[in-house]
């Protein structure tokens, strides 16, 4: 590694006022867009790419990376405050973030999310700087067999997010996977469960289902609680935010989760087709499994927020690895970035490390800067964002509903999606009422298409002989790890149930 060139590239980026301004503007836009349910970082980058046409490469990359990193953090704001993840990558943040807000710790949850996002992003950027050629080599060996087993590995975390009843969690997961099969089948284009409805041919859109299951269901349940007298309509958070960054004690608690989340996020982000939405669940399950008190996860602890937020921002660095080293985008945002590079006359790929090394290092620096900009914007915004939960519930619930329904519409500009959102709102309300966990559906919706496509591709390539999977050592490795995760999660769940039973019996004694 050429250290002199690396340092001069960093200095070049960090001391360039245009790059600084563009990255900061990108971060502001990204955080705001990410916080709106239905608006993803991908949409933000796609929307602002025309503005980057007239700029030099590095300011435009700074702008786009600012949106990317800001959007990753922004998604957690609505997940924490209104139970509606702004982006799919923030889906796991609500597991602990929303309960924290319900306990009157919304400001703390936001500051932990912001700090962890920043640290995860820095970890991702560092790994990208030093290990990108190596990681890219491993990730690019993935065929349909490895991708299938990666999806199976992702699904193995379902048990740890299932809550008290594993059978209910698994029913939810299979239901979610079944939902993924609605529409034209990806290989032969045969209609499945479309019932003659044209809008169903393309399958169910993920975002309306996500908003319905979490935000709309929460509003319906909230109205029910208020009318039944189980919740006050005037209830609001009275949390006073004295600091925008987590205190030393909290950082002391969450740093292992941040580091492991950042590393997991970077490596999963480096695999083309696997992004932040998968990484957050894997990181959550890993950290919960490694915790001394797994029973506290899901009840509103900062560790849960830290594990997921560091993973989704770690992905931003990871996704850049195959883009720069091999010219293959790791996710949809980097696919758009690839277009930006090509427009500027630079072809990412192995040759970029030879002919455009200063540009490569400047991109590393721009990613680091984008994370810093995200931290600045987050610090400035924590108090403002937290004000949302200081609204009375009788005002908050209707606002959440109309914003969520608009978010569902905005994805495809289709009224049908609002109907889908309401339908899944009802499903989510019923499932919550009868204690069926919702998170496994979410994970299944993310991994289902990847699982099916690679399963069909693998079987077609191997004439229907599934046993040939044994010839793929990385795939077998993933499968073994998945089995290990299932066994470990089962043991962990028993431990959780035992501790909860002890906690219930203690007051009686």
């Amino acid at each position: 590694m050429d250290w002199n060139l690396l340092f001069s590239s960093y200095a070049n980026v960090f001391l360039n006022p245009t790059v600084l301004l563009m990255t900061l503007l990108g971060a502001v836009g990204g955080v705001l867009l990410g916080a709106i349910p239905g608006m993803t970082a991908t949409m933000g980058v796609a929307l602002l790419i025309p503005f980057s046409f007239g700029m030099d490469l590095i300011p435009s990359v700074g702008l786009l990376l600012g949106i990317y990193c800001g959007g990753m953090y922004g998604g957690s704001i609505s997940a924490i405050l209104i139970h509606a993840p702004g982006t799919p990558s923030a889906a796991a943040t609500l597991l602990d973030g929303y309960p924290m807000a319900q306990k009157g710790e919304a400001g703390k949850a936001l500051s932990v999310a912001m700090f962890s996002s920043f640290c995860g992003g820095v970890i991702g950027a560092l790994i990208m700087t030093f290990l990108s050629p190596l990681v890219a080599k491993v990730a690019m060996k993935f065929t349909s067999a490895e991708m299938l087993m990666l999806a199976v590995f992702g699904l193995s975390v379902i048990i740890s997010i299932s809550g008290k009843s594993i059978s209910k969690g698994l029913i939810s997961a299979f239901f979610g996977m079944l939902l993924c099969t609605i529409g034209l089948d990806p290989t032969y284009s045969k209609q499945r469960f479309t019932f003659g409805v044209t809008s169903l041919k393309g399958g169910l859109s993920f975002i309306p289902v996500l908003i319905g299951l979490f935000a709309v269901a929460e509003v319906i349940a909230g109205v029910e609680r208020i009318i039944a007298g189980r919740e006050s309509a005037q209830a609001k958070s009275t949390e006073k935010i004295t600091r925008v960054l987590p205190d030393g004690k909290t950082i002391g608690q969450i740093w292992p989760n941040i580091i492991s989340g950042g590393i997991i996020g970077t490596f999963i982000g480096a695999i083309p087709g696997a992004g932040g939405d998968i990484a957050v669940f894997v990181s959550y399950a890993f950290n919960k499994g490694a915790s001394k008190h797994p029973e506290k996860w899901g009840t509103g602890i900062p560790n849960g927020v830290a594990a997921t937020e560091s993973a989704n921002n770690g992905c931003s660095g990871g996704a850049m690895i195959p883009l720069l080293s091999l010219g293959v985008p790791g996710d949809s945002v980097t696919a758009i970035l690839l277009g930006a590079f090509i427009m500027k006359g630079i072809q990412p790929g192995p040759m970029m490390y030879v002919s455009e090394l200063p540009t490569v290092y400047k991109v590393f620096a721009a990613l680091m800067l984008a994370n810093l900009a995200m931290l600045l914007v987050g610090c400035a915004g924590v108090r403002v964002f937290a004000k949302i939960v200081s609204l009375e519930k009788r005002m908050l619930y209707p606002i959440i509903l109309v914003v969520s329904l608009l978010g569902a519409f905005s994805i495809n500009k289709n009224v049908f999606d609002i109907g889908v959102c309401v339908f899944f709102g009802v499903i989510g309300w019923l499932m919550n009422k009868y204690e069926f966990p919702l998170s496994p559906i979410l994970l299944a919706l993310i991994l289902g298409p990847m699982c099916e496509q690679n399963f069909v591709r693998f079987m077609d390539l191997n004439q229907g002989d599934f046993s040939t999977i044994l010839h793929y050592p990385i795939a077998v490795g993933f499968f073994v790890v998945a089995v290990g995760v299932v066994i470990f999660s089962l043991i962990n769940q028993k431990k959780i149930n035992r501790r909860e039973a002890e906690a219930v019996s203690q007051p009686q004694e």
């Binding site: 709106i36 608006m39 929307l47 009843s165 059978s167 209910k168 698994l170 029913i171 299979f174 239901f175 996977m177 079944l178 099969t181 089948d185 290989t187 032969y188 045969k190 209609q191 499945r192 469960f193 709309v216 509003v219 319906i220 109205v223 029910e224 208020i226 009318i227 039944a228 007298g229 189980r230 309509a233 009788r394 005002m395 619930y397 209707p398 509903l401 109309v402 914003v403 329904l405 608009l406 519409f409 905005s410 500009k413 009224v415 609002i418 309401v422 709102g425 009802v426 309300w429 009422k433 009868y434 204690e435 069926f436 399963f455 069909v456 079987m459 077609d460 191997n462 004439q463 229907g464």
Partner: protein
């Protein structure tokens, strides 16, 4: 135990498993109607059927668990606690939730005709009134300004064209400005 068996969580699990079995049977029948692909190693119906089988296996587990629990129910068992009801006549909270669902269905139906701002004004206004906000000024202001503000953000800054229905003139006005 003062809760009748038919009101326990174990019983609600039993009912849920029966509903799920009915759903899985229906889904299996529907999967049989998926067209066959020629020379395919995996048929388009294979993956959905694997999922239905997986769902059915764990539904059976839930069913057996609830039958065993109901047969030998201990008073301190978590599943012996009272389950949530769906009866709107017994629980006014459920009645309100069902009313909100009905409102949401009307929202979808009226969205294109009346436009986002008007239907959202009606939906949020009615819900606010329902859950206790009776002061006209905040009720009307919030119900009107939030959808209007969201429409402006989406239309002007994010270029998302949202149906405005009867308020179409607002879009023309904003375009002129």
């Amino acid at each position: 135990m003062d809760v009748k068996k038919a009101q326990t969580k174990a019983f609600s699990n039993l009912i849920a498993s029966l509903v799920l079995i009915a759903f899985e049977t229906w889904a299996w029948v529907q999967s049989g109607k998926i067209k066959v692909a020629k020379n395919a190693a995996v048929q388009p119906s294979t993956f959905p059927r694997i999922m239905i089988i997986g769902m059915a296996v764990f539904t059976a587990v839930l069913l057996i668990q609830s039958i065993i629990k109901l047969a030998a129910m201990k008073p301190d068992d978590p599943l012996a606690r009272r389950a949530e009801t769906l009866d709107p006549f017994r629980d006014k909270g459920v009645a309100a939730a069902l009313f909100v669902i009905l409102l949401c269905c009307a929202y979808v139906w009226l969205f294109k005709g009346l436009g986002y701002v008007v239907v959202s004004f009606l939906l949020s206004g009615i819900i606010m009134w329902l859950i206790g906000l009776r002061k006209p000024a905040p009720l009307l202001l919030i119900s009107a300004l939030v959808p209007l503000g969201m429409w402006l953000v989406f239309y002007k800054f994010l270029s998302v064209n949202i149906p405005m229905g009867v308020l179409q003139f607002l879009r023309d006005l904003v375009d002129k400005l």
